[in-house]
Each structure stands twice: as structure tokens, then as C-alpha cells.
């Protein structure tokens, strides 16, 4: 009766081997490290710059295949992953795609799917008010959003998780103190916090990381604290306590691996929020700075030139791009939650 269960042809063993946690970690590193270096270090990479992203392309593709394979049971997750990986692929392969220079003015106000007045360049997505190719800017634009968004989220998670574990596990004064400061930060509306922090530190990618950490870490701390309080009363934690393990060992080896699951789902959602935040901050002039292309910046720049239906493509293209990326993150989170609930 249940034979259909295993009727699916066996997956190639290579993919199985690549699905091992270690292999996935290596692949993620192969994709992520070059991309981060490329965006953060940029020119300082020197001669490496043109080549550094090359290994990231296959890594991204393989990771996509693995993700689809692992999450095939949830359509939501697969669609989400497809959107996210599409932009990841764009981010890592932007330097190698046959695109025009995203910062070079060619012919302003060329509508999508048409040639400019001069020359015979065909513009798929038109050009902006400075005559820069929208397609190229859109593709390049995802690099910074993704890199800074993910970095900021990861840093926020490290900080939030650490404090959450301490507050939840050690309780007492630690808990009181951390929770109070968490509450202080949480009672600032996020945008107020962003504005104050970024205005104080000045707008830049690194400062966005700090601002996001300030804004997100308390919430993460709360979640982790809650999870920790729950897990803390599990017998295996008692077992560790009864064999006299130090609190640090218990936090890192007994608690941390078990709060991981719910956190990953939350992290996907928060990636979405962070992307929104970065785009919004950039739009408000507090985030990433010109000249390099960025979606928020494209919106900001176009907001005053494209207030005419004919030119609205300048606004709609970056707006849709950022929406698809965030939709990807959210669908992934939904899908992962669905999967985790089924198990």
C-alpha cells in the first residue's frame, strides 16, 4: 500500500554527499565570502576583483539545487528559494553578465524596450534620468542590498542569541538587566532607532549593520530567551547540570543547537524586514550612498523625476525587484515553518 513512498528514483549520490551539513557550509562559504568581500572591500581587492566571484556562481547554483531538493515538499519554500536564489545568482554573476556600465550615462529617459535617440543600444528596461541602463542597475543593485541585509541580520542574530541564552539560562540579575535594556531598545519604534543611530553614526553599510543590530537584537533576544526558558527545563539540560557542566558549556552545546530550528525560520522573516529597512533607509537618505546602484537609491532618485505615468518604470522596476526578494524571503520562511511543523 505504501510502496509509492519509495518509488521515486534514488537521487544521485553526489547530491546526497553535497547535502551533508559540512558540504553545505562549504558551499555557502564559497558563495558568501567572495560576494561579501566583493561588496565590502571592493576596489581594495586589487587584481583579485575581477575573478573573486567566479567560484560563487557554481556554488550558488548547486545550493539552489540542494535547496529545491531539500524543500521539495513545500511549494511555498521552493518558490521562495527560487526568488531568493535568482537574486543571489544575479548578485554573484553581475560582473560577468553582458551588461552596460551601471554608472555610465548614455541616453536619459529612454523608455523600456526601445532604442535611445542616439546610437543603436537597445534598452530592455530603459534608462533612468541620468541615462544609465536600468537593467544593469537593477541587476547590480541587488548586490549591496543582499550583502548588507544578510550581514546585518547575521550580526543581529549572533548578538541577540548570545544575550538571549544568557538571560534565559542564567536568569536572575543577568536576566533582569538584559531584559530591561532589551525593553528600552524595543520601546523605540524601529524607524526611530534607525534614524537616531544612523544619524549619529552617519549613513553607511557598516552603520546599517549596527543599527539593525540595535533594532533587531532585542527582539531576537526575547525569542531566544523564551526558547531557552522552555528548553532549560528539559531533562537533557538537567542531565548536563547533574553532571556538573558549566553554564557556558550548557548554553553553547546543549541549548544553542536546539534553539536553532525556530530561529532559522525567524531569521528568514527578519531578512525580509532588514531588506525592507535598508531599502527604506536608503530611500530616506540614511542608508547606502550613491553612486553605486542600489534599489532604494534608484527609488529615491527616481521619486522626483518619474512622477509621470510614462516614466513610472523608473520607480516600478526597483520597487518590484525589492518586493520579489522580500517575497522570496517570506515565502521561504513560511515554507520552512510548514516543513518544520510537519516533522
Amino acid at each position: 500500500m505504501a510502496t509509492t513512498f519509495d518509488a521515486r528514483p534514488a537521487a544521485p549520490p553526489l547530491l546526497d554527499r553535497l547535502s551533508a551539513p559540512k558540504a553545505v557550509l562549504i558551499l555557502v562559504a564559497l558563495m558568501w565570502v567572495p560576494l561579501t568581500l566583493y561588496v565590502m572591500a571592493g576596489r581594495n581587492l586589487g587584481v583579485l576583483q575581477p575573478y573573486i566571484l567566479l567560484p560563487a556562481i557554481p556554488a550558488t547554483l548547486i545550493l539552489y539545487v540542494l535547496a529545491v531538493r531539500a524543500w521539495r515538499e513545500s511549494w511555498t519554500a521552493v518558490i521562495g528559494a527560487t526568488l531568493v536564489f535568482f537574486w543571489l545568482l544575479m548578485a554573484v554573476s553581475a560582473p560577468y553578465l553582458p551588461l552596460l556600465d551601471p554608472n555610465k550615462p548614455i541616453a536619459p529617459f529612454v523608455l523600456p524596450f526601445s532604442h535611445g535617440k542616439v546610437g543603436d543600444t537597445f534598452f530592455w528596461l530603459g534608462t533612468d534620468f541620468k541615462g544609465r541602463d536600468m537593467l544593469s542597475r537593477t541587476v547590480w543593485g541587488c548586490q549591496r542590498v543582499i550583502v548588507w541585509g544578510v550581514t546585518a541580520t547575521v550580526v543581529a542574530y549572533v548578538v541577540g542569541t548570545l544575550f538571549g541564552l544568557i538571560a534565559g539560562y542564567l536568569s536572575g540579575w543577568w536576566d533582569e538587566l538584559i531584559t530591561f535594556f532589551g525593553n528600552v531598545l524595543l520601546s523605540f519604534p524601529v524607524m526611530v532607532l534607525f534614524i537616531v543611530v544612523l544619524n549619529y553614526l552617519g549613513p553607511s553599510g557598516f552603520n546599517i549593520v549596527i543599527a539593525v543590530t540595535f533594532a533587531s537584537a532585542p527582539a531576537i533576544m526575547r525569542i531566544v530567551r523564551g526558547l531557552t526558558l522552555d528548553i532549560k527545563s528539559r531533562d537533557y539540560v538537567f542531565a548536563a547540570q547533574t553532571r556538573g557542566e558549566r553554564p557556558f558549556y550548557i548554553m553553547i552545546f546543549e541549548l544553542l543547537p536546539n534553539v536553532r530550528g525556530p530561529i532559522i525560520v525567524d531569521a528568514c522573516l527578519r531578512l525580509g524586514y532588514t531588506t525592507v529597512a535598508i531599502t527604506t533607509l536608503t530611500f530616506l537618505g540614511l542608508g547606502l550612498q550613491p553612486p553605486d546602484p542600489d534599489w532604494g537609491l534608484m527609488i529615491k532618485e527616481a521619486a522626483k523625476t518619474a512622477m509621470l505615468f510614462r516614466f513610472s518604470y523608473m520607480l516600478i522596476i526597483p520597487a518590484l525587484s525589492v518586493s520579489t526578494l522580500i517575497l522570496g524571503f517570506n515565502l521561504m520562511a513560511d515554507g520552512l515553518r510548514e516543513i518544520s511543523l510537519r516533522d
Binding site: M1, A2, T242
Partner: protein, 707 residues
């Protein structure tokens, strides 16, 4: 399944009247991503008015599925695939939603396992009760209220008017279950389904509910289906029994027939794996059923029980096994093709009866141990009154000792302080007062961090919940290895691994479990790993906190046996915390009975299980459901619920529920500790002579004959 292989049911004796419920060849499947999962196959059942039918089986056997199928409430992925389901002769499968609505709650009612979860937390009890008559009989508000109130009185709830106005969380678990039962009875149903109605309750509370159920059966002439994993409960409540295994009924018949002359190896296995009140560990060891329950999509060909059966022969896996009638017992049927060939009276093949082992020197001495907690009351009133901090006496003056290789059982219901005591012993809490001497060190006031690794290693614990006991993120091997290194048994990588392998051997797990993660293990296997982990540091004392209570009966036996075996070989002292008196009687050398943090009785197992009893011990013993038809017990049902430890009664802690309360002295004065014989002590005001004059709770057939 082949219908022709079934015995015609016309052979059934009893009444010619239409049964309240009749299931014929019922097959139920669930549909999941993995495809169709047959949950119940080929199931037959008849319930007549006033008759109580028990369905017994271990978790996953499909007994609850049957109940929900009868209610036609299968969720969106469950479906009845074949068979007939007739209620009062009407085909329920053909009924529409509206018709079903009319039946549910009115003609068929159900009582659930967890009363707290089954009641709507946001509605008052009265609203939940009144709904039933309001909807089914369209009576007025006033009449509905009156009927609900009367029914609450009928289910023996004290102060029904108060309860009517209460929200579910404001009444105790036992009261909640009575409310649920009242709700089920309100429309005078023809059929009452009880799905493990007492599993979530304490034993003494359970006894009350069981009493109530029996009374209902006789009073309301309701047909009842009683679903339980506990054979003892079935015996006490039912007329007929159906034993289920892996989605099939494997045996059915009257309680007498099945209990005394079972004709299916699984039924026999079940009986052999539960401790009976008369038996002790050395005389009649538990015999576990080997192997595991197969998952629904991994069921073997032929007899589902085949792979675990001691009487397995090649013919057993040839094809589907039909239900067959046991000759000369028209109402008794078995799904075994070999029941005629099997010698049902032969003693179990591998029943190794062990010698009692001699006790060694004293290892642990607990002397006047007290543990008080302070809890803050944050209500404004308390703050004004200056009673913001309340003291909870979790353990009040515990005195006992334990010797090498001895098993000391600590018995009591929830809130009795046994877990707090374990925590103090383990060093997770420190004692408020008193001593606990391990070897020659007082550890009562030393938290675990301050204890020497050897001391910590000498005192280890086996935990209750198999799903919690292992860290799901680490492999089995690494979790055991950590203990070995931590207690400095071995440090060398290879040696540590060898030691882990030895431990896996010791708990009878395959060595390749080393690399497994806990989620790939069954509950019993996890408990085995938990035991291996506890014994990894060569402990002198192991505290086992209800180590088997969450396991299925057949697995319980195996784990219990294993624990005792290891204890014997290592001459470890075992502190066995449990509420299950039959199990305690079976394995303990010494018993300590606790109630609300007080030690009310202690003595050797024989002393405690025979008169003189502490009234609480007496009630506890009486509450134990006994699956042995030859044993007769005195029924003592305690009133009310266990008081909260935050608000203990004055005088004797047990006085609020005591069936032998002698007067005001019980309410005002703390009772004296009376000593009988060498070490048998009872905390009670009742005069020693009266206590000694108590009749025993259990009498076996032989004893009765002897009288």
C-alpha cells in the same frame, strides 16, 4: 482484506435486540504526503445497550482512530475505506453532516483523555454544559441550566453552583473530567465513548472516575466503549474486551474469557509484561515482548505480530490472518492461526527467576532533610498584607537510608515532593535543612557545581520523559562519551569509544546506534540510552524518576528489567521514583510513601504492602487497577483532590481526604510517627492497634479460599 474469511457474526449469543453500535469490517486510512496509511483494518465491534466494551492496546494500535471514526470525525485526511458502521441499525456512513450533528453529543457522546484541553478555556462551565440541551433538545435557558446543574450533582461534584460559574482552569483535573463526563451524559446518550479518560489523572483521582463510570453504566443503561492501554482499568470497568495490535483487533471476548484464557500470543505477552500485585521481581520477573510495534506502512506480511511472536511458524506470514472463534466460547475470537496448537499454560520460555541479592553497606543517609521554596505573591492585596512571600514546603523532614544494591522506591502522586527531593539530591537545589550523606560526605547543601567530579559521577539520574532525556542535536555516542570524559572514567579517544560501545552492549542496543541521533530512536531505545548515560560514570546511586511511566506496557517491562539487571550487576543503589504501586512492589526492596512533601510511611516492600497501612497507602493500593481476575481488592475511593503545596492543610497533611479520619486532632495536630517492627514507620494519629487490625487491600483467590 478478504471478507469471506471472517466468521459469521450470527454466532454471537446475547440479545437479539439491535446493538447500539455495530462496526463491520471497518477499514480506516489516513492520507499523508507519503501516501495512504491504513490505520485500522478489518475491525469488528458490537456494543449493546448497557454493555461496556473495552478496547485495549498500545500506542499506535489504532484504538483512538476507531473512536474518532465512530464519531465520524477524522480530520480532512482520514477516511473510512470500507466496512459498515451502524448506529442503532442506521448506517452512519450514509448520513449527512446535519444528521451527524444531531447524533453527536446527543445520541453518541465522548469523553476525552485530557479534560483540561477538552474544555474551552474562555467559556464558563455552565455555558459549555447548557449548549448540549439547548442545541439538541431546543429547551429554554432555564431548563438547560437546571439540567446542567442536576447533572453536575449526578457526577458527584461538590458545590455544583460554584462550578457552573467557574472557568475550566479554576477547577481541578479530576473535577474537569467529571464535567466532561457530565457534558457527555447531559442528553442521555445511547453510546458513550471514553478515550483514556483517566490517563492524565493521579491514581487516587482516577479511582474516583472509574467508580463514576461504573455507576453510569448501571444507571443510564448506556452502551460504553472504554479505550485504554491499561488492562487493569478494563477489567474494572468492562464486560467485553477487544485487544488491538497494529491496526487490527487481535482478540475479543468477555473480560473473563480473555483475561483467564487468552488465545492470542500478543494478549499473553501483554499480561506477562505487567507486574501483578502479588508478584515480586525475584519470583515472577516481567517478560517483555521483544521487538517494536511496526509502523503502519512497514507492517509485515501475514500476521502483524509475527516478527515479535514466540510461537511464530512459517505459515504465519503466508497471508492475511482471519479472526476465528475460539471453540466452545461463542463470544471469544482470536486472530491467530495457531491458537489451537499453542500450549497456553506453559511457563514462559526465558523466565529467568533471579535470586534476591544481598544488600551491601549503607551508601546514602538522608536525615531530617527539608526543602522550602519562597514564592512571591504579586497581587496587590498580598503586598498590602505583607504576605508577598510565601513559603512552600516541598520536602518536610525526610529521613531514610539506602544500602548498596538496594532499590528504594519513593511513591506519591503529583505534588508530593518526590521530584524536589531528587533535585536536592542531585545538587540542582540545595536543602534548607538537614543532611544527605553520600558515602561520608554531606551533599545536602552543596550545589552540583561545587561538588567534586567523583561525587557527581557517583550520583546520577535517569529521567522520566524519553523525548526529553537526550539532546536531539547530538549523536547518541557523543552524549555518552561526554559523561565518560566528564567524570574522568577515560580520556583517551579510543578508550572512550570502547567504553561507549560497552555501555551500548550493556543496555542491549546495537553498536551502530553510536552515530544515530535521538529522533531516529523509539521511546524505549531513548530510555536505554538514558540508562547507559547514567551508568557511564560508574555511579553508586542512581535516581530514576519515573523512568518507564511514559512508555508502552511491553516496553516498560523491558526497560524495567534492564534497569534492574544493570543494578544487580553493578550493585548500584537505585532510588526509584514512581506513582505505580504494582511496579514498585515488583522491584523495590524498600518503599517510601510521600504525600504533600511529608514522608507518611516507610518500610520494606512487604511491610508497606501489608497491614498496618497508612490510610493514604491503603487508598493508593486500592486505586491500583489490577488486571488479575483472581485478585480481589477492597475499594477505597478518596474524596476530593490533592491540596496545593502552596496552601497545605493544618494538622495532618492527609486529613482533608482521609477515609479514616478520627476527629479534630487530625485537623489540628501534626501526627506522630509510629514505628512497627524494625523500620516500618507510619505517620498517623490512629492508634497502632487499629492500624494493625486493618484488613489487607488485596486478597488472592487462594487467600480467600484459605479463609
Amino acid at each position: 482484506m478478504n471478507e469471506a474469511t471472517n466468521e459469521p457474526l450470527s454466532a454471537a449469543p446475547v440479545s437479539t435486540s439491535v446493538p447500539v453500535l455495530e462496526c463491520r469490517d471497518l477499514s480506516i486510512s489516513y492520507f499523508t504526503r507519503a501516501g495512504e496509511i491504513p490505520a485500522v483494518v478489518d475491525f469488528n465491534l458490537k456494543v449493546h445497550a448497557g454493555e461496556a466494551v473495552g478496547i485495549v492496546g498500545e500506542s499506535g494500535c489504532g484504538k483512538s482512530t476507531v473512536a474518532l471514526a465512530i464519531m465520524q470525525y477524522m480530520g480532512k485526511n482520514g477516511r473510512i475505506m470500507a466496512g459498515e458502521l451502524k448506529f442503532m441499525g442506521r448506517d452512519m456512513r450514509a448520513m449527512g453532516e446535519a444528521e451527524l450533528q444531531g447524533l453527536r453529543g446527543s445520541k453518541i457522546a465522548m469523553v476525552y483523555q485530557e479534560p483540561m484541553a477538552s474544555l474551552n478555556p474562555a467559556m464558563r462551565i455552565k455555558d459549555q454544559l447548557m449548549e448540549v440541551p439547548l442545541h439538541h433538545e431546543k429547551v429554554g435557558e432555564k431548563e438547560a441550566f437546571e439540567r446542567a446543574l442536576a447533572m453536575l450533582a449526578d457526577v458527584k461534584l461538590p458545590d455544583p453552583r460554584r462550578i457552573m460559574e467557574a472557568f475550566p482552569h479554576q477547577i481541578s483535573g479530576g473535577q474537569q473530567q467529571r464535567v466532561v463526563i457530565a457534558m457527555a451524559l447531559l442528553s442521555n446518550p445511547a453510546l458513550l465513548l471514553l478515550d483514556e479518560p483517566t490517563t492524565a489523572l493521579d491514581v487516587t483521582v482516577e479511582a474516583g472516575i472509574v467508580d463514576l463510570i461504573r455507576e453510569i453504566a448501571s444507571r443510564f443503561n448506556t452502551g460504553m466503549i472504554y479505550i485504554s492501554h491499561n488492562l487493569g482499568l478494563i477489567r474494572e470497568t468492562c464486560d467485553r474486551i477487544t485487544v488491538m495490535y497494529s491496526g487490527e483487533a487481535v482478540e475479543d471476548g468477555t473480560v473473563g474469557e480473555v483475561f483467564n484464557a487468552m488465545r492470542h500470543p500478543y494478549t499473553q505477552g501483554l499480561f506477562r509484561s505487567i507486574p501483578l500485585p502479588g508478584a515480586d521481581k525475584n519470583a515472577r520477573p516481567l517478560i517483555p515482548i521483544r521487538g517494536q510495534l511496526p509502523l503502519p506502512h512497514q507492517r509485515p506480511h501475514g500476521c502483524n505480530f509475527g516478527p515479535r511472536c514466540d510461537h511464530f511458524k512459517p505459515a504465519c506470514d503466508a497471508g492475511p490472518i482471519p479472526m476465528r472463534q475460539v471453540p466452545s466460547q461463542p463470544d471469544h475470537r482470536s486472530r491467530c492461526i495457531r491458537f489451537e496448537q499453542i500450549d497456553w499454560n506453559a511457563p514462559p520460555a526465558h523466565a529467568d527467576t533471579g535470586e534476591p541479592i544481598p544488600l551491601g553497606p549503607r551508601v546514602l543517609e538522608v536525615d531530617g532533610l527539608k526543602k522550602y521554596y519562597e514564592i512571591a505573591n504579586r497581587s496587590l492585596l498580598a503586598m498590602i498584607r505583607g504576605t508577598a512571600v510565601k513559603t512552600v514546603k516541598a520536602n518536610e523532614k525526610l529521613d531514610f537510608d539506602a544500602h548498596e544494591a538496594e532499590t528504594v522506591a519513593i511513591v506519591g502522586e503529583s505534588g508530593c515532593g518526590k521530584s524536589t527531593f531528587a533535585k536536592v539530591l542531585m545538587g540542582l537545589e540545595t536543602a534548607t535543612e538537614g543532611r544527605a550523606v553520600l558515602g561520608n560526605r554531606d551533599i545536602a547543601a552543596t550545589p552540583v557545581q561545587s561538588r567534586k567530579p567523583q561525587v557527581v559521577g557517583h550520583l546520577q539520574m535517569v529521567f522520566q520523559n524519553p523525548f526529553d532525556t537526550l539532546n536531539p542535536s547530538h549523536t547518541v555516542g557523543s552524549q555518552i562519551a561526554r559523561v565518560i570524559r566528564k567524570f574522568d572514567v577515560e580520556q583517551d579517544r579510543e578508550k572512550v569509544k570502547d567504553r561507549v560501545m560497552q555501555l551500548l552492549d550493556m543496555v542491549k542496543l546495537p553498536r551502530d546506534f553510536y552515530l544515530r541521533r535521538p529522533r531516529q530512536l523509539s521511546g524505549g531505545q531513548k530510555q536505554r540510552v538514558g540508562i547507559a548515560r547514567a551508568f557511564a560514570g560508574n555511579p553508586r546511586v542512581v535516581v530514576a524518576d519515573e523512568p518507564v511511566s511514559a512508555l508502552d506496557v511491553s516496553v516498560q517491562a523491558a526497560v524495567t528489567q534492564l534497569l534492574m539487571e544493570i543494578q544487580r550487576t553493578n550493585r548500584t543503589t537505585l532510588l526509584f521514583i514512581s506513582h505505580d504501586l504494582s511496579l514498585v512492589r515488583y522491584l523495590a526492596d524498600k518503599v517510601i510513601v510521600m504525600y504533600l512533601g511529608h514522608l507518611v510511611e516507610q518500610g520494606t516492600t512487604d511491610e508497606v504492602f501489608a497491614p498496618p497501612y497508612h490510610p493514604y497507602t491503603e487508598a493508593l493500593l486500592s486505586a491500583v487497577p489490577v488486571a488479575d481476575t483472581s485478585v480481589e481488592k477492597r475499594r477505597i475511593v478518596l474524596e476530593g483532590d490533592i491540596p496545593s503545596a502552596v496552601n497545605p492543610p493544618p494538622g495532618c497533611p492527609f486529613q482533608t481526604r482521609c477515609q479514616r479520619k478520627i476527629g479534630r486532632i487530625c485537623e489540628t495536630e501534626y501526627p506522630p510517627l509510629r514505628t512497627f517492627g524494625e523500620g516500618h514507620r507510619i505517620l498517623c494519629h490512629i492508634a497502632p492497634e487499629e492500624l494493625e487490625a486493618m484488613p489487607p487491600v488485596f486478597t488472592t483467590a487462594e487467600e480467600r479460599a484459605a479463609e
